[in-house]
Amino acid sequence: MSDASETARTSYARVEAGMKRRRAAERRFRFLGKCAVGLGLAFLAILFVSIVGNGYSAFWQTRITLDVTIDEATIDPAGAREPQVLRTADYGALIKQSLRDMFPEVSGRRNRFALYGLVSNGAGFDLRDKVLADPALIGRTISLTVAADDDVDMLMKGHIDRRAPESDRRIKDNQLAWIERLETDGRIGSAFNVDFFANGDSRDPELAGIRGALMGSIYTLLVTLGLSFPLAVSAAVYLEEFAPKNRWTDLIEVNINNLAAVPSIVFGLLGLAVFINFFTLPRSAPIVGGLVLTLMTLPTIIIASRAALKSVPPSIREGALGIGASPMQAVMYHVLPLALPGMLTGTIIGMAQALGETAPLLMIGMVAFIADVPGGVFDPATALPVQVYLWADSPERAFVEKTSAAIMVLLLFLATMNALAVLLRRRFERRW
């Protein structure tokens, strides 16, 4: 055999000798890759488990059934049944009276407070609404089911340990005894938490709901959508189809790419300085939030829209131009309709991004305590993620649950929007 095959043989022997080490290195590397993917997915799982685990119970609310005597002397001493008088009367006193009647042995200021603390502060308003709806109830004794106080709620849901030493729990021994009596009487139960979806924010966790924040988010997004979609599509059409290649369009291009990566809080500063300080638009209003988020999402939507336009093959344009259409006609009648699904997808993704954004809204005052549900774009409002932020900062244990539940609602909305985008993409995706 020749010299060459001799060297080939020795080199082959060396290759074989190294194989064990190399196979091990290969396995290690592959394992590392698997670990990385696994870790990423594990983080996701932990995140979801922790949020759902904390939040699912917020969709139920502990309720207590009381026998309330609607005493005419307390709420309508004049007996005239005037709505104004009925509306402002002290129904809380009736609720307190009914609790005292149920536990007549309770005495002393502290103890009585503890007793009143079993039911929510909103109980009086439930009663009021009932009476306003049917003034004939006055003077009668009715059975009324009201929300329990958040601490009672936490106890019933097991977040407060009944066996912990008294000093370590917010429900004291005497309250525990009363609750146990209510339990044996079958007066305490659990129901779907309608308030969580029907109410605005409240300082009382059991009354706090996401409706205000949700409406705030919806108004904000409406402003954002109404402005950013036409603006972004027009800008994308111009830049992709008509703009001459010159310094000016280069500048615009670089600008858009940069704006897409500018931290969102900087847009908040812009909103604060321009919309609130300069144009004196109201603080905490969805209109300002919408404007800020419009500027923030514009680059995203423009980039997506341009990609959609780019994916329409030149042959379509050439075809249109070839039969005598003007460039504008080619774009408006042939290219744009084909690119529209892609643009819509980009817009939905931009909207999802806007829905989840918090930092710029903090800058423009959308963090105030706002109990009313906003009725328009100029009413003070918060937004869903800001509500999450506000609740996360609240000390009551029950707000942890509310926060997680609000996050679940927020994620649900985001998931819906993204699913919509995916669906749209699947439905209209064309392969050229």
Binding site: T88, R109, P230, S234, S284, G376, V377, P395
Partner: protein
């Protein structure tokens, strides 16, 4: 297609424009102290539910910041009410007047203790005001003796007094915009530093130097300005058992399961001890109303009425459930009278 888009844009601009032109502020705007914030929000909620008026918008800006905003002028863009965890200062009233805010109605809503609290899991502690001063002032009397001030050398509580825990001094407290900070400085730091006779003597010679000596807090990390949010302080204390925090009694009361208050001069912060005045660090809480706005911004009078009603501020009112210490009977009657007649401060 393009036309429809154009129309959409026009429509949105037009509706926004028209909506803005007709916007008139129909709700009360409230700013101010984070200590009063929880009380004010509860009243605002009750007010919003029980009347036809809109629920007031409340932002927590700190007493000082709130008064500053409040005093910026009369007009729709300025707040109607500011909450304060201390009385308004003469200098601030002057500022108000200079900006055209002449008639201000003062409403004292009750008392609140300032508690120095820490996590429930830590051992009980009792401080004197002098110890707190030594722990927190920027400059303190030289521990080696002599009547001069040196940069605060104390690293742990034990350095100050052997009876105190051997923990690094770490106190979370409010920034200067906060009324709690003002009250703490007056009630604890001033008292503590006046227990040194030579500093007390300075007050006569050089008021400014005395103030600087007593009221300047450390900036070396022992005192951490934790922002306006008392809730945040509570959360941080719960997580870090070695740290102390300065906040209103109501927060302590609301979070008894997480934190506890240190005794000061041997008295623990309790509802009763603050009400009877034996707990040394307590102060009144207020809110201030711009009289010029009454009758113009809807609902201010009614809000005042709701706040001062017996079901709110009274002995068994819902505010006392939240940790507000009610006013004595005679004082309460005077406040209610003032609120009814809208009597401005002199």
């Amino acid at each position: 297609m393009n036309k429809a888009k154009f129309a959409l844009a026009v429509l949105s601009v037009a509706t926004i424009g028209s909506a803005y032109a007709q916007s008139a502020r129909g709700y009360i705007s409230i700013v101010g102290s984070s200590t009063v914030y929880p009380f004010a929000t509860v009243v605002a909620e009750q007010f919003g539910k029980s009347t036809q008026f809109k629920t007031p918008k409340i932002e927590s800006t700190g007493s000082g910041g709130g008064i500053k905003l409040f005093c910026a002028g009369v007009g729709v863009e300025h707040p109607d009410i500011t909450n304060a965890s201390r009385a308004i200062k003469a200098s601030e009233l002057e500022q108000c007047a200079a900006n055209g805010v002449k008639d201000v109605i003062e409403v004292k809503i009750g008392y609140d203790g300032i508690s120095v609290g820490h996590s429930k899991s830590a051992a009980d502690v009792s401080f004197t005001r002098r110890q707190l001063y030594l722990a927190l002032a920027k400059e303190v009397p030289d521990p080696k003796g002599g009547d001069k001030l040196v940069a605060n050398p104390y690293k742990t509580w034990q350095d100050i007094n052997a009876a105190l825990p051997a923990l690094r001094i770490e106190v979370l407290g409010p920034p200067p915009t906060s009324g709690t900070r003002d009250a703490f400085v007056e009630l604890v730091m001033d008292e503590g530093c006046n227990s040194f006779s030579f500093i007390k003597a300075m007050n006569k010679a050089d008021k400014a130097a005395h103030k600087a000596a007593c009221q300047t807090l450390r900036e070396d990390g022992a005192y951490v300005e934790a922002g306006e949010n008392d809730n945040l302080i509570v959360q941080k204390l719960e997580a870090n058992p070695d740290a102390f925090g300065i906040f209103g009694f109501s927060f302590l009361d609301q979070n008894r399961d997480k934190i506890k208050g240190a005794s000061i001069e041997g008295v623990a912060p309790e509802f009763e001890t603050i009400a009877d005045g034996s707990y040394p660090v307590s102060r009144p809480l207020f809110f201030y109303v711009k009289k010029a706005h009454v009758g113009v911004i809807p609902g201010i009078k009614e809000y005042l009425a709701e706040f001062t009603s017996a079901k709110a501020m009274g002995e068994e009112g819902y505010l006392s459930e939240r940790g507000l210490i009610p006013l004595p009977k005679d004082e309460y009657a005077r406040v209610v009278g003032n609120a009814k007649t809208l009597t401005a401060m002199k």
